[in-house]
């Protein structure tokens, strides 16, 4: 059943942008991640680390700080000097507010969550009151000589520590004056460096201030006396980030060498209450700077220039070896960046500021007519020679500083739709032999401002647009123009955005899923709404039998979310799905595997008899050949297209990491 010709595409040279900040929210178990291009992503750690929300980036918004405040409110601040609050329901920016202190380097919400503190370029620390609808400036603290790079609240909310260049200040919140100024040694391995930048501070409830600096030191200070207690030299380069656990019994620091060090508070002897901080385990999951770290109750989270978000569970905190006990590395966004036109064999790649349209190559080899850059078929695993190379047809650049949110190419290949945060674009493509011309479709309706998700119907006559206001628009596409058919308004009272769309092949049914995991099914003909709500939003249409029997334990141990599901048009029993590491075809007609059978069977043994093959066959056919797999879809009955993005290629495009002497080289 699973014999396909596969286009193996590797020319999608997508480079995710580096991670700048992460902020962990304990109550909702969510993680906010901001990238250097201003994108903010929200991961749900309880739901399989799925990236559930996404705020598009903006060229001028370089985020430097990110924090959660009371009531699941997310704030960010950046070098443009603005504090931004995000609307997590509408997936939009609620407001932005200038702090009038120059670029903002640091931000911290008070332990109660009602106050917000920002540290600015001009050396001022500003306190804001968080009101239900907006934030309000309250006061300035004593101005310091140079920029405030890090801030930390004492858990009681009475004092703060602020890291600047060459010194750390401790402020009293009431008076707003600096209580202590703790000078940091500039010396680095006996050599005096120009400056010692305090990249991060953490204020513990016992009055200890922990600082990390550009000389590679982790230092412990007594804030009551303003004296240095202990120094750990952990790196030859900068230590750039620190995060403390809620219990204050462990913390984690990230260095520019890509190493993450874990510190723990352990008792000196078993029968004394004296405790000391000990550096325990180093983790080297990054190749570049670790710009930010977070400490969830069960895991250490780190991100940096090398674009990986690494979630490393703490084994001693994890009760049993299960789903949560695996190390996760999230590199690629979980949303769709690639769309394909089946008819014309086109692939549309979405980058942050442009779109690329490619035509797949072809082959005339005996194995089949398909191709890509590399090819499979004929015999299993063969590579077919290409008769025609893949073609780069078009590059479409957006104007303005905003990033592209979503894009789509129609199945017929003659329409391209994409959207930024403020505008929606529709383009018509005309093919004249090998030439390609592009026409702009103007006069977009006023209601169509920005889209979260775009989808064409199978026959390319209708365009479905999910806007960020919670409404769904249906457009009829004509030759060179369009007509606005209908708008499904959001449920009364909610403004939640639809982030997933699916269309039935006959174009009659439209399914949409929002941020609150409900699934809405719309009948396009009768313009009516049916609603279903199922607990697992990943598996929309799956039989009760498998729920009853349960999944294979290996299947449940997978730790990456499934990012795409498709159906075979000719064989309705087949479901195709993939995540970043495997591609799976589920045959509903075959028996489900139980725990005794082998889930992953890479090559069906051809030499064995049919009886054995039938006995060992089960519903799940898994291929791990392509990884990391960004996109996989059926082009036609026997042809698949798989888009891979090897991690090494991404690393090669990043700036070179800090050179470390490796022993034996």
């Amino acid at each position: 059943m699973g014999e396909f010709k596969v286009h193996r595409v590797r020319f999608f040279n997508y480079v995710p942008s580096g991670i700048r900040c992460v902020a962990y929210n304990n109550q909702s178990n969510r993680l906010a991640v901001s990238r250097t291009d201003g994108t903010v992503e929200i991961y749900n750690l309880s739901a399989n680390y799925f990236q559930e929300k996404f705020f598009p980036g903006h060229e001028s918004r370089a985020t430097e700080a990110l924090c959660w405040a009371k009531g699941q409110r997310l704030f960010s601040a950046g070098l443009n000097g603005e504090i931004i609050e995000y609307d997590l329901q509408a997936l939009d920016i609620k407001y932005s507010m200038d702090a009038f202190g120059g670029p903002i380097w640091s931000m911290a919400a008070s332990p109660s969550g009602s106050q917000l503190l920002v540290g600015c370029e001009d050396g001022s620390v500003k306190l804001f009151q968080i009101n239900p609808d907006k934030i309000q400036f309250e006061r300035n603290f004593d101005r310091q000589k140079s920029r405030i790079l890090s801030l930390s609240w004492h858990p009681s909310g009475t004092h703060i520590a602020a890291g600047s260049i060459d010194y750390i200040s401790v402020f009293d919140i009431k008076s707003g004056s600096a209580v202590h100024k703790m000078l940091v040694d500039r010396q680095y391995m006996g050599v005096s460096k120009r400056k010692c930048i305090i990249w991060g501070v953490a204020f513990l409830s016992d009055g200890t201030v922990i600082s990390v600096d550009s000389a590679g030191k982790v230092q412990f200070w007594d804030s009551a006396t303003g004296t240095l207690v202990k120094t750990h030299l952990v790196a030859n380069a900068d230590v750039q980030s620190i995060a403390v656990s809620d219990q204050e019994d462990s913390f984690v620091v990230g260095t520019a060498e890509g190493t993450v060090f874990h510190f723990q508070l352990v008792s000196v002897t078993s029968n004394s209450s004296e405790k000391q901080w000990v550096r325990t385990k180093p983790f080297q999951h990054h190749t570049h700077d670790v710009r930010t770290v977070a400490h969830s109750p069960t895991a250490l989270i780190s991100g940096g220039t090398d674009t990986h978000l690494v979630i490393r569970p703490l084994m001693e905190k994890v009760e049993v070896k299960n789903y949560d006990a695996a190390l996760r590395k999230i590199t690629f966004p979980h949303r769709r960046l690639i769309s394909c036109s089946k008819k014309r064999q086109l692939l549309l790649f979405q980058f942050s500021h442009h779109l690329d349209l490619w035509r797949l190559g072809s082959t005339v080899a005996t194995g089949g007519k398909t191709s890509g850059k590399f090819l499979v078929p004929g015999k299993h695993g063969d590579t077919l020679p290409l008769s025609k190379d893949a073609d780069h047809l078009l590059q479409l650049k957006t104007k303005g500083p905003e990033n592209i949110i979503c894009s789509c190419v129609s199945p017929c290949g003659s329409w391209i739709a994409y959207s930024t945060a403020s505008r929606f674009f529709l383009r018509r493509l005309n093919y004249e032999h090998d030439n390609l011309s592009l026409h702009r479709v103007s006069k977009m309706p006023a209601c169509l401002r920005s889209a979260v998700q775009i989808m064409f119907s199978e026959d390319s006559t209708k365009l479905f647009v999910a806007s960020n206001q919670g409404s769904l628009h249906i457009l009829r596409l004509l030759e060179g123009s369009f007509k606005h058919l209908h708008t499904f308004q959001a449920q009364s009272g909610t403004v939640e955005s639809m982030c997933l769309l699916a269309v039935s092949p006959d174009g009659n049914w439209l399914a949409a899923s929002g941020t609150s995991a409900g699934v809405h099914v719309y009948s396009v003909k009768r313009l009516k709404i049916f609603e279903y709500s199922i607990p697992d939003k990943q598996y929309t249409e799956w039989s009760r039998a498998i729920q009853k029997q349960g999944f294979h334990h290996h299947w449940l141990q997978r730790d990456t979310p499934i990012t795409h599901i498709g159906f075979h048009p000719k064989r309705p029993a087949h479901i195709l799905l993939h995540d970043a590491y495997m591609f799976c075809i589920i045959d509903k007609s075959l028996p489900l595997p139980n725990d005794k059978t082998l889930l992953y069977n890479p090559l069906p043994p051809t030499n064995e008899s049919d009886v054995i093959r039938r006995r060992t066959a089960h519903a799940f056919k898994i291929s791990k050949k392509y990884k990391p797999l960004l996109f996989m879809d059926l082009l036609d009955e026997g042809t698949l297209v798989a888009v891979e993005r090897p991690l090494d290629d991404i690393i090669a495009q990043l700036p070179p990491p800090i050179k470390k002497k490796k022993f034996g080289t």
Partner: protein, 835 residues
């Protein structure tokens, strides 16, 4: 003959680095195991102060008695634990355990018991047990029933460590760390991943050390990592830190006395000090010469020492500067040069460090010096083919040394080099004179100098497998720049293209015998003419030597197939031959005797014979259980007169031999145990008094008193004490007024101190003073009054000679003198102790 059989004794050269060395509490002495003995070295002078003899098998562990730091426990394979007074070199007690003991541990918390490693049932299952030691006045006692502490541990004492002042014991083996808590009586076990993949395959534990103050265990690993474990009292919450510098396995770890730094060492021969157990703050002491096997730290914290694989102990100061080196006999893996005697120093010469020749003094059991022959940096890397020093010979009464080194890759060409070294009187060492590359086309099988008079030209003969022997003579090598002499080839001889297997000069240097496989050829050394040949058709000739003195007309040859032949050079005929598989044949340079060691089923047998008689003078069967590789006669400085007829051959020289397992053995006709005189013991005891303020107060005064007493007794001079020199006066002046006793009390003392001591204290007052003395001294040192008897008893079993009584008498006398001295001290300054 049986009655007078010579004992085979180990003669030093045993491994000093078998176990960690132990410092005395004041770090003035270093104690280390050495074969069946324990040696006490002075850390300041590097000299061996005492040899604690008494164990009958290899000593496997030593530890200071935690309750009395002047005593030492030792354990051995002979199943006993012995308690020593190491300052006086006296055995105090022997406890019999009954099992083979592999390691010994003590700690202060367990007062009456020690911990040993034994294996009970299976050969490789080792247990750590605690052995209670009974408190009996008797000298020999049965130790109590061992109680199991930890099962399945490694036999190496490096893999067990006590920590937390004796609260727990940590043991490592393979991939796990077990910690036994004495209070909870529970064991926690921590396992590292041991999968076969490359990353974790070398996770094996190699050693363990415990922090002296904190709950922290340091473990060394095969991949060079050091892990610091903390929080191990909870099996879930434990955590560890990694320190990684070593690229090869960590051989040993030790915490400093205060625990502020961790010391580690390994094959890199670099001592690493990790300050504050942090990765970035480390200090190095590089170029220590050989693999660091053990690291020991003085309890006082001022010194540490590293034991090395080349039988060396380096004492290192706290600032990581080597301050003393104790070098034993270096054991190379293969002694290719054999044993030689340096005619000048009478030192034993053999292969030492790779590419070196070591000069080892048999008398003092230490290395005199090392001669670097190869003069190339030694790279410690397995799989590398090194240059080997294969042959060496002394000639012309020690004026010349010839060495041959070779290096052969598996399929490469043989690299061969001969070097000739001249003795330089000014520098008292050998200087390279001539270097001959490729002296032969194949391996050199033998090398010998002509033992000629001083007037003759020094001559050297080399025999090689390329079928030739070459004669090298010293010739004038002067040019316009300098006057020099060098060695040149004078003659090349061969015999039917047979391989030359050995060569030998007659005693007067007139004849040269060269064996070519089965044939022995005799050459005239003046003209290099072939005089005659002997062929016995009994296999290749391996050993060849001329007889000496009265037997100089005989030539002896031993073949590989096991025949010993003796030819008469006058009649050119075979005198006698016998079947004997000779592995070593050595002539005594001072007599006619020839010693031959033959391999037999029960071990190796020794035969001593004169070439003139086919009947051996002396036979000793199974001198050792393994093969004897090399042997040599070392001339005695003073000829001994041994009564026994059979041992006449030991009169003028001593025979030393080296076995396959690198133990250097010799024959002894008596127990060599009367080296240390009681007076020196006494001196040592005084010297060992700690340098406290009281010592300065009392010790100095006692010395002065002693001198005065001596002077008075001799009656040679009478000296009036000057006022400022009298300690009583100065101490009166220097003591704060508020601690001084009443003036009435001091008055008599003051007057007394001004009086002259006229004679030694009279006899009648001694008894009660002695009584007082007994009571006063009991608490300070318990073993002291037991010491004299024990010294006697220790002396008795072996010897039975007359020397012992004299020794005991002398000892008592000195004891007496010491008591008098102490009494003097007490009379003067008892008031100091009053407040």
């Amino acid at each position: 003959m049986e009655a007078a059989a010579a004992r085979v004794v180990r003669c030093g050269g045993s491994e000093l680095s078998l176990r960690r060395a132990v410092f005395s509490a004041d770090s003035r002495y270093l104690l280390c195991v050495s074969g069946d003995f324990v040696k006490v070295y002075s850390t300041a002078t590097e000299e061996c102060v005492h040899v604690l003899q008494g164990h009958r098998d290899l000593v496997t562990g030593i530890q200071l008695n935690p309750n009395n730091h002047l005593q030492l426990y030792s354990c051995s394979f002979d199943g006993t634990i012995k308690l020593w007074d190491y300052l006086d070199g006296i055995l105090i007690k022997t406890f019999t355990v009954g099992h083979k003991l592999h390691a010994l541990f003590t700690h202060a918390r367990a007062e009456d018991s020690v911990f040993v490693t034994i294996n009970k049932e299976k050969p490789d299952v080792f247990q750590l047990v605690s052995v209670p030691l009974p408190r009996t006045p008797r000298q020999d006692a049965e130790a109590g029933e061992p109680r199991l502490v930890l099962d399945c541990i490694s036999p190496s004492p490096k893999c067990v460590a006590f920590g937390g002042q004796g609260d727990y014991v940590a043991a490592v083996r393979d991939f796990y760390l077990s910690v036994y808590f004495f209070r909870k009586k529970a064991t926690s076990r921590f396992t590292l991943s041991s999968s076969e993949n490359r990353k974790h395959a070398k996770n094996n534990f190699t050693c363990v050390a415990c922090h002296p103050k904190e709950d922290c265990i340091a473990t060394g690993h095969k991949d060079g990592k050091i892990r610091l474990w903390r929080g191990f009292d909870d099996e879930r919450k434990y955590t560890y830190t990694c320190l990684h510098w070593h690229h090869d396995l960590v051989m040993d770890l030790a915490f400093s006395a205060t625990g502020s730094s961790l010391l580690s060492g390994g094959r890199e021969s670099v001592l690493v000090e990790w300050r504050d157990a942090a990765e970035k703050t480390k200090e190095f002491l590089p170029r220590l010469g050989a693999t660091i096997e053990h690291i020991a730290v003085a309890p006082a914290g001022d010194l540490l020492c590293t034991s090395h694989a080349d039988n060396k102990i380096i004492v290192i100061g706290r600032n990581l500067e080597a301050c003393a080196v104790i070098q034993g006999l270096v054991r190379d893996s293969s002694v290719l040069t054999g044993l030689m005697v340096d005619p000048r120093t009478k030192a034993l010469v053999l292969n030492g460090k790779p590419g070196h020749l070591q000069f080892y003094s048999l008398q003092s059991d230490k290395q005199l010096y090392n001669l670097d022959i190869v003069q190339q940096e030694y790279i410690n890397d397995c799989g590398l083919v090194q240059i080997e020093l294969t042959k060496a010979a002394f000639g012309c009464f020690g004026a010349w040394l010839a060495t041959v080194e070779q290096r052969q890759e598996k399929e490469g060409e043989l690299e061969l080099q001969m070097k000739l070294w001249a003795y330089n009187k000014k520098t008292q060492g050998f200087l390279l004179n001539t270097k001959v590359s490729a002296p032969h086309e194949d391996r050199v099988t033998a090398l010998c100098f002509r033992s000629a008079d001083k007037s003759d030209v020094p001559t050297l003969v080399t025999a090689s497998r390329d079928g030739r022997f070459k004669v090298w003579v010293l010739a004038d090598d002067s040019d316009i720049y300098r006057k020099a002499e060098g060695w040149t080839c004078d003659f090349v001889g061969s015999y039917h293209k047979y391989q030359a297997t050995n060569c030998c000069f007659s005693e007067d240097g007139s004849l040269l015998a060269v064996s070519f496989e089965e044939t022995v050829t005799i050459w005239e050394s003046d003209t290099w003419e072939l005089r005659c040949t002997f062929c016995q058709r009994a296999g290749r000739v391996r050993h060849l030597c001329f007889g000496r003195l009265t037997c100089s007309k005989y030539l002896l040859g031993a073949t590989e197939s096991g025949t010993l032949c003796c030819w008469n050079l006058l009649s050119c005929a075979l005198e006698w031959s016998t079947k004997l598989g000779v592995s070593v044949m050595e002539p005594d340079p001072r007599s006619e005797h020839v010693a031959a060691v033959a391999r037999s089923s029960g071990g190796s047998d020794l035969f001593v014979f004169k070439p003139s008689e086919p009947r051996p003078l002396y036979v000793q069967r199974s001198i050792c259980s393994e093969e004897v590789r090399w042997g040599v006669f070392v001339p005695r400085d003073v000829p001994e007169a041994l009564a026994s007829e059979a041992l006449q051959w030991l009169n003028r020289s001593q025979f030393y031999f080296l076995t396959a397992s690198q133990s250097l053995l010799t024959f002894s006709s008596k127990s060599p145990e009367e080296k240390l005189t009681p007076t020196s013991k006494q001196l040592l005891a005084e010297e060992s008094l700690p340098a406290t303020p009281f010592y300065f107060l009392l010790g100095r005064h006692r010395q002065q008193r002693g001198e005065q007493a001596d002077g008075a007794a001799d009656g040679e001079r009478v000296q009036l004490p000057t006022t400022e020199g009298v300690p009583a006066v100065s101490e009166l002046l220097h003591t704060p007024a508020h601690v001084l006793p009443s003036a009435a009390f001091l008055c008599s003392l003051f007057i007394n101190s001004l009086l002259l001591a006229t004679e030694a204290p009279s006899a009648e007052e001694t008894p009660e003073d002695a009584e007082m003395e007994e009571e006063g001294e009991r608490d300070s040192s318990e073993e002291e009054d037991a010491a004299p008897e024990q010294a006697q008893q220790a002396g008795l079993p072996d010897g039975g000679d007359g020397g012992d009584e004299a020794e005991a008498l002398q000892q008592q006398l000195s004891k007496c003198a010491e008591k008098e001295l102490r009494k003097l001290r007490r009379v003067d300054y008892s008031w100091v102790a009053v407040p």
